[in-house]
Every structure is written in C-alpha cells, then in structure tokens.
Amino acid sequence: MLDAGPAPLVQVQDLKMHFPIYTGLFRRHTGDVKAVDGVSFQIQAGQTLGLVGESGCGKSTVGRTMLRLYEPTAGRVIIDGDDVASLPPEALRKKRPSMQMVFQDPQASLNPRMTLADIVSEPLHEHTDWTRAQKLERVYELMDQVGLNRRFVNRFPHEFSGGQRQRIGIARALALKPRFIVCDEPIAALDVSIQAQVVNLLEDLQEKLGLTYLFISHDLSMVRHLAQRVAVMYLGRIAELSPSTDLYSRPLHPYAEALLSAVNEPDPELALRRKRIILKGDVPSPANPPKGCNFCTRCPKVMDICKTVKPDLVEVEPGRMVACHLYTAAGSTGASEAPERKNQERNQQGENR
C-alpha cells in the first residue's frame, strides 16, 4: 500500500475501455480504439487525484468509465467497497447517488428548457420520495452552498453566466450527497478570472463535505494547486503517478518532464532562462498504438527495449509510480546510460538550431 492509513475510497484496477471499430460492407469488427488500456490507481477519502494529459489520451474516458457511463471492457472500479464495473443494474442505480460528475461544458450539460430548480431537483425526483416542499428546501440549501442567489431559482440556464452555470452543475452533482465526484475539465470553458472562483468553491466544498475528487484537466498549474497526487496519462496508459509536490519539482517519466516544460509560466524572466523540451510529431492513434512503450515514437530518451516491450507502472521511489524502462531492470539501466545520454545531447542540439 502506498500510503499508510485508512483504505482508499476509490480503487481502480487494470481498467480497460476499448471501443470497437467496424468496417466494410458487413460491418466486421476489425479493430479497437484502446482509449483506456490498463489503468490502475487509488484515491484516499477526502483527497483529490489530478488526472492530466493531452486531448485524446483517454483521461475523460477513465472518468466516464469509472461511473459506468460506458461499459468497461475489463478491470475493476471499487468505490466505497462495491465494484461498480460489475454491479447489476438495480444495484448500480442504488449506488449512483454516491458517485457524481461535473461536466466540462456548463452550456451543453444543462437542459435549456429546465429552470434551475428543475435541474437541481431532478436527481431528487429519481432517487428520493421526498415531498415537493422538502425538495425545494434542499434546492435552496444547495444554492447557498454553491453561492447562487436564492432569487434565481426559477431562472433558465441562458440567464446565467458561464461561471454561474458551472455552479448549477456543481449543485446538481451535490444534490444526493455523494462521496465521490469526477470533475471532468470543470473550468476549461471558463474565463481566467472566473476559473479561480469555481476552483475555490470546489475546494471549500471538499473541506466542508469531505468529498473525494478525481480532477481531470489539461491545466497543469491548476492541478498542482488542487491535487495531492497526480496521474499523467499518455495514449490510454498512466505514464507517471506521483505526489503532486514530487511530480512538479522532479518529474521522472520523460513524457511528464516534457509536458511540464511546455507549460507557459506568466513570467518573462523565467521564460528566458527555462529549457523547453520540444517533442517532435503528434500523438499516435489509439487504434494503432506503437508496439512497445506508447511514448517511444516521440521520446527524447528512447532505447531499443522501448520499441518492443511495454513498460509496467511500478513503484520506483516511495510513493512514486512510473512506467518507463529507464527506471526498471537495474541491470539494464547501467548498460543503457551511455547511449541514452548521447541521444539526449543530439536531441538538444536539434532543438537549439
């Protein structure tokens, strides 16, 4: 176990989500898009795990599959003792109140024909047998919690700004008192000055209600601010899973290193001094991933073994899990060090041109 203490609230074990590809006249099953291909992690109760990566890496699919918005291909998702991935329909329905989701686009995830009261009380209609008055009271309570004025209760989504709409989305997710919330890029569609408002709200709610978050985002600096531990995904697999402080001060996986170096700090002095690692090329298609390590086509430190063997996610330092051949097989590390360094130099020369 990574951290001592209570058992984790959320445990994901070797989760796979493959979307079939059908082609030709007879719609034959000719392949799979391996959106999520063997992902494992756990989240302690009351903590936040950040899940970062570029578009198409499968981070949103992980979130959706965990809540069984998709039927997983394989793997287990244990949330508070129950394996959500294999629960039968009726049991799953009973389980749903304890796990909720906040979506990226508050414009698209709210029904434009429903009022705020309708939207926030809809989960209550589904899962409780409360009276109208009880439900309305709960709606008001939620509006107070997320900082929406009670006078707005009968307004429609278009009458709210982006930040306020996201507050409605959060109120809806909170309606049934969940323990675990998947936040799928909740601030990506908001203006910079509004993002901080929503992030602070999420933090306050976590503290007050003891919530556990999976925070999916491509905004690495916001994840640093929010999460205790961070998983970096690349092409359907986790490249590195480390405590936030360690990851940001000293990333171990070459992809994590490149990703962090690409983030633009609002500081011109720093921008001058800093060494960027510019990755060549694009992310390969998840329908046809490379044979060895998924990152081997773009990795500045690639070795021969990377092109044939997929590295497993293993603990290389206390609490730090990395899927990279640089850190495994102690014997091979020593042997490969020299060519690796040469490779690195060549790459840097190429970039400085």
Partner: protein, 340 residues
C-alpha cells in the same frame, strides 16, 4: 515623431459597435495603438474584452451590419485601411497583412486540397503561374516544418492533425510575405506540447522573415514567453500597455494585477488559496461613461464612477511608447477631482 516613423501599423481612436435587436453593443471603445516593424505585440483580455473585434475591424472582416465602425483610423504605412475602397483593401488582406484564426479545424475549407488553399493567395495577389505557385507552396510548407511537403499538397484538411493544420494556416498567412501577421488565439485549441511546437516555430519565423506580429490571447503565460510589448484590454478598451518585462514586474492597473494573481503557478510555493476577481465582466450596452472595471475593483472610489479614465503614461514617455495605464489612481487630475 521618429519612433512612429518606424511603425508599420498605427491605429487611432477605433470604435466598433454591433447593432442588435436588444440595442447597441459597444465592443471597441476608442482603441489606439501602434505596431513597430519586426515587433511582437501581445494583446491580452478575456472573452468579450474586444481584442478580436479590434483586429477584425482593422481589415473590415466583420459582417456589416450588424457591425459598424463608428470612427477611427488604421494606418498601414500611412494609408487608412478603414476608409480605402473594397478593392484596395482586398490587395491588403492576405498580401500585406496575414491573419491566423483560432480554430484550425474550421478555418480551412474541407473540400479543397491544401495545395489549392495555399496557392490561392499566391495566384491572386502575386499573379504567379500555377507551376510557380506550386513550387512556392512547397517551400512554405517546408518553412513551417511539414515533412514530405510535396505529397502533402494534394491532401485534404481532414488528413492533418490539429497542430499540422495550424502550421498550414500559418503557411497560408505567410504566403505573400506580409509586413504584419495577426494571430488570433492561434494556440488556444492546441495541446501544450503542440502549442510549444507552434510557439517555437513563430519565434524562428520572426527571426527569419522579420515581420511584425500581433498575438491575441487570454493566456498570460504564452505572452510572457514571446511578446516584446503587451496591451491589456478590458471592456472594449486598452487599460494598460507596457513592454513585456515591465508589465509582469510592475503591473499598474488593478485588473492586470488581479489577473496575474488568479493564475496558479507551476513552480514556486503553492498558494493556499487562489485570489478571485469577484463579479462578472461588464455588459457593453451603452457608451462607457465610467471605468468599466469599477464594479470588480478593490480600489474603487468616486472618480471611478464619475468618468472613464483616459490612458496616462506613468514613465514620462508619450502614451503608447512606454508604460501607460487607464486608471484614476494614476491620474493626478482625476485624484484631485475625486477629492474636490
């Protein structure tokens, strides 16, 4: 002024309004700026701050109506873009001024090959033959770092990734060797590693071709890395303007300062709580008669409600040349008026 002679573009008092059924929206309010040869001017602001509308107005790219340019001048080497004939303007667009739009997915025509779209300006503006244009198109694609350029010429946009498409957009904008390149959030739709590639490409092209660039973005991090000078927009006007290091080291407008504090950093100490700018951006349904930021400003006082502050230099240089800010706290006259 000697310095202005070096300006390739000078905009004075630009005003753009949109006439809608719900009344007029004053999107751009008295915006003035200049662009020196070879410099990169960063324009920062949130959605609705008027940064894109300002640049679209210059080339009259907005649908009119509902848009209407109410006043101002935009001098490109002394010739006013806003008052010249449509025909003259056509010889400027794409030829002297290139434009890169935000979304590389929608700004290429899906039914034409890339070669077709790159060659169009070459044939139209530079009157090249098809064979000449093709040779030049290959050169351009190589310039922006697209491998195997010749065979790529005959492919369609859907066969390219997002980063590649943005490279193609830049190639098209550069086709006629423009003096000015306007890039409207060119990396916003891209992932960080791809964004890093494009930023590096632009720096390289600047050194090679020496054009002046206007870079519109809401991302202060991008600006810090590439701009020479920065203009911050809010409520359809310029609220602060300064050389890039000066702006980040010594921000003067309360909005700029707050904006810099709301962004979490990737290095340094982790902030316990993010600073918040309370409230919402203003709705610009009337001409500004007071400071547009006053409702969200922590330094608000009477003068802020009484008048919209003009831009004032804080370093003795003429406005637009050094560091200037539109805030009553920096206006001695405004402060006196507040106390009177």
């Amino acid at each position: 002024m000697a310095d202005l002679a070096a300006s390739v573009l000078e905009v004075r008092g630009l005003r753009t309004v949109f006439r809608t059924r719900g009344g007029e929206i004053h999107a751009v309010n008295d915006v003035s700026f200049h662009l020196r040869r070879g410099e990169l001017l960063g324009v920062v602001g949130e959605s609705g701050s008027g940064k894109s509308v300002t640049m679209m107005s210059l080339l009259r790219l907005l649908p009119m109506p509902p848009a209407e340019i109410r006043g101002g001048q935009a001098l490109l080497d002394g010739r006013d873009l806003l008052s010249m004939s449509d025909e003259d303007l056509r010889s400027v667009r794409g030829a002297r001024v290139g434009f890169v739009f935000q979304d590389p997915m929608t700004s290429l025509n899906p039914v034409f090959t890339l070669g077709n779209q790159i060659m169009e300006p070459l044939i139209k503006h530079l009157r090249m033959s098809k064979a000449q244009a093709e040779t030049r198109a290959v050169e351009l694609l190589e310039l922006v770092g697209i491998p195997d350029a010749r065979s790529r010429l005959y492919q369609y946009p859907h066969q390219f990734s997002g980063g590649m498409r943005q490279r193609v957009m830049i190639a098209i904008a550069l086709a006629c060797d423009p003096d000015v390149l306007i890039a409207d959030e060119p990396t916003t739709a891209l992932d960080v590693t791809i964004q890093a590639q494009i930023l590096e490409l632009v720096q390289e092209l600047r050194q090679k071709l020496g054009m002046a660039i206007i870079w519109i973005t809401h991302d202060l991090g991008v600006i810090a890395g590439i701009a020479d000078r920065v203009m911050v927009m809010y409520g359809g006007q310029v609220v602060e303007q300064a050389p890039v290091r000066e702006l980040f080291a010594n921000p003067q407008h309360p909005y700029t300062r707050a904006l810099l504090q709301t962004i979490p950093r990737i290095s340094g100490p982790r902030e316990a709580r993010l600073k918040v700018i309370e409230g919402q951006p203003p709705i610009l349904n009337a001409p500004l008669t007071a400071c547009p930021f006053r409702a969200r400003c922590e330094f608000r006082h009477d003068a802020c409600d009484a008048a919209n502050p003009p831009r004032r230099a804080i370093d003795g240089l003429p406005v637009g040349q050094g560091h200037d800010v539109a805030c009553h706290w920096h206006a001695p006259a405004g402060r006196e008026a507040a106390h009177a």
